[in-house]
Amino acid sequence: MLNSTALATTTASLTGQTAASASHRSPLRPQEAWLANGTPGEMSSPASTSSLFNRLQLDDDLEDGRDPFAITDTRDLFVTVDDPKKHVSTMETYITYRVSTKTTRIEFDLPQYSIRRRYQDFDWLRIKLEDSQPTHLVPPLPEKFVMKGVVDRFSEDFVETRMKALDKFLKRVADHPVLSFNPHLNAFLTAKDLNKRQGLALLTKVGESVKHVAGGYKLRARPAEFSAMGEYLETFSQKLGNIDRIAQRILKEQSEYLTELREYGTVYASWAECEEELQRPLEGTAGCVATCCRALEDQSESMNQDFLPVLREYVLYIESMKNVLRKRDQTQAEYEGRLEAAVLRRQEERTPIPAEVEKCQDKVECFNADLKADWERWQSNKRHDFKQLLTGMADKNVSYYEKCQAAWESLITLLQDRQTEDKSNETN
């Protein structure tokens, strides 16, 4: 399969393949390839010709100008991660998750697959994706390492949270117009036994190629938009950190509140035992406080299960994003370095600028385009996710208060019922 020798051609052929499979066009020049991402928004790019744009628009107008989440009907690859199972062998204990796939894509032999994968396999997939598609933003996996003793790796909560995160990861990959066509993903989703050595040669080559330019080279002209992205990520990660800290503090304070509230409820209950007339009112109050405690437990639980993991995913996402930005800078640095050298040589020897340098330039532009497309997609995902996250939080709080309100209202009915009962007894 991928037998390319240099990073530049790797990228070109990969994106080319994708474009070919997506719109049945022959392999394109890299400048065209980025358009296959499905975001023809970057019209300022000099590489795009109007005719090409028109052709592409036919393919992509469904997505154009729309919220990408409204386009679920155009999706043709559906993946789910669920049903965690614990495996105990003499060597190790680990959890596997069921990965189910439904698809109409011709790259898949069957319309449906169901296999079991463990965390390591997801990790393998992610590394493969990142290596084979360095110009793209690969979604993050949940943290691999957990503090021993602090978190029980096999606890139901932990497995559940991790399962959700893995599901999110795989869904994001499957929804990505380029990553979802990656053969590694195909293998991951379909192969009974994952041959993890596959493509190892490529890995080392890409690694070297990246290392090669990882010097302390200062870019001449980094496009402002990428600097802005970097700044944005800085601020955003800071905000996320703040929100995460606040949420944690609220959870901590809430759990302490819960402890006190439970105690408070017991006081009413034990007081009720000492009273005759007041027994029922006090018991009722105790019951009401207990209901509020349960409502609060639910609320805290959902914060733990639904709110914090999303924040954490985005913290990791930011890291991935920064990583891609760094790689882009390296690619540009390599190009600028070579260009400078070539220009110098030309002045001395009057030789034309070698094709190698042009290739580098293509690579940079390809990278920029991929990155911009991924950035747009990421922004739009993020907006959607945070909207959902925050409205979800508001909903949970509303429902918590509603439960409490209902409990207190029923208490009032109980107290007043008793009072009217007393009065009727008096009149009788």
Binding site: E263, T285, K387, A394, C404, E409
Partner: protein, 421 residues
């Protein structure tokens, strides 16, 4: 203020009573040292006169907390069988950390004003206490009242009683009704105290939960633009194109949410005060029980004394010494005394017995009166407790509902903002 107005006549049938305001003053105390204190303006107005069409002028006078204390101790001593309504706390107790424990704090003074008014109304509603003339003078004559109270000599009575109360005595046959009441007052005290402690801790935590939400406000919102034309790039709402506005207004709602807890807890303090009143009531209830023990003790002592005297008389008359005594020994050793001496001693004993019988009669009457009146009073008190605490619980539930409604309101508004993102 007090929801027991329907209870009946009392003083309130004829008079409106309220504490209109509180004022801070400073002056010299008995030791001629400068001190700051708070005085409370008592406003009274006769209402039975109003029925004639005349609207009587209200009467105003200032009283200090210490004067209320004096009134209460007078009432306690004079009516030992009555569960005298307690005064509000002298110093704030069971406070959660944000609440000031300072005596001069305006919120504390206000809560005490309400408490003192409540005390006066409770006293004025009491079937027995409301007819007390010292109480009337307390309400209507600013000057010279203290002297009148002291003239009643209640202090001396209180002192001797206090000594007796402090002395260890054990009643042989305590009345069942009092035993139960004593037990009840112990339980009431421990239950209310525990409740107040738990509530203060709950309030502390709840305050924390709300206030931390205010931090969301700070993250969502950017600083006011009016001050310096700084680029508000550091705020989340400022770096988001589409989400900015929604975040911004959500931030304001979070601020409002954090601020709302102050009012909620301030209101809840009223509930705590109602529970506190019953914590102090438990002390008053116990005092009635202790006084019963005292009268019973005195009765038992004097009866015992009388039995003893009677026995001596019998011994003297018959010459048979049933119990071993020094006197018996001397009689045996030195022979019997002269008949005149014997007669004189017999007469003396007769007198003492008569006296003793009288004492027992008085003590029995006192004891009976105390038992009857106190049992009646405790029945009344129990009814009042049940009614008041039930009422307090209803009010508490209403308060909680209003808190929930506020919470629902704020979070729904916040949700609207998020939906616009």
């Amino acid at each position: 203020m007090v929801q027991i107005l329907d209870e009946g006549s009392g003083l309130l049938g004829r008079m409106e009573i309220c504490i209109a305001e509180a004022e801070k003053r400073s002056g010299k105390n008995a030791m001629s040292m400068q001190e700051t204190f708070t005085v409370y303006l008592i406003e009274t107005r006769l209402t039975d006169a109003a029925a004639d069409g005349r609207s009587p002028a209200p009467n105003f006078l200032w009283r200090r907390y210490s004067e209320f204390e004096l009134l209460r101790s007078y009432l306690t001593v004079t009516y030992p069988y009555i569960v005298v309504p307690p005064l509000p706390e002298k110093r704030a107790e069971f406070v959660w950390h944000k609440l000031s424990a300072d005596n001069m704090d305006p919120d504390f003074v206000e809560r005490r004003r309400v408490g003192l008014e409540n005390f006066l109304l409770r006293v004025a509603l009491h079937p027995v206490l409301s007819d007390d003339r010292i109480l009337h003078r307390f309400l209507t004559e600013e000057h010279g009242w203290k002297e009148v109270v002291c003239d009643t000599g209640f202090q001396a009575k209180a002192d001797s009683r206090l000594r007796a109360l402090n002395a260890t005595f054990r009643v042989r046959n305590p009345e069942k009704c009092f035993l139960e009441m004593k037990h009840y007052s112990d339980q009431l005290q421990s239950n209310t105290a525990q409740l107040l402690r738990a509530r203060a801790r709950v309030a502390d935590r709840l305050y924390g939960v709300y206030k931390i939400h205010g931090n969301y406000g700070r993250v969502f919102r950017f600083e006011s633009k009016s001050t310096v034309p700084v680029k508000p790039v550091n705020e989340w709402s400022a770096i988001e194109k589409e989400m900015g506005d929604g975040l911004q207004s959500a931030g304001h709602h979070m601020d409002a949410y954090a601020a709302s807890i102050d009012d909620i807890l301030e209101e809840e303090e009223h509930y705590a005060d109602q529970i506190k009143e019953y914590l102090f009531y438990s002390e008053a209830l116990r005092a009635v029980c202790r006084k019963h023990e005292l009268t019973q003790f005195e009765l038992e002592m004097s009866s015992q004394d009388l039995v003893c005297k009677k026995q001596q008389r019998e011994e003297l008359a018959t010459g048979i010494v049933r119990t071993f005594s020094l006197k018996g020994m001397t009689h045996k050793l030195f022979g019997h005394e002269a008949p005149e001496q014997k007669e004189a001693r017999l007469r003396l004993l007769e007198e003492m017995i008569e006296e003793g019988e009288e004492t027992v009669r008085v003590k029995t009457a006192e004891w009976r009166e105390h038992v009857d009146k106190a049992c009646e009073e405790m029945r009344r008190f129990k009814e009042q407790t049940d009614r008041d605490l039930r009422e307090a619980l209803v009010n508490y539930a209403v308060m909680q509902i209003s808190m929930c409604k506020k919470g629902i309101q704020v979070w729904s508004n916040t949700k609207e903002c998020f939906l616009k993102m």
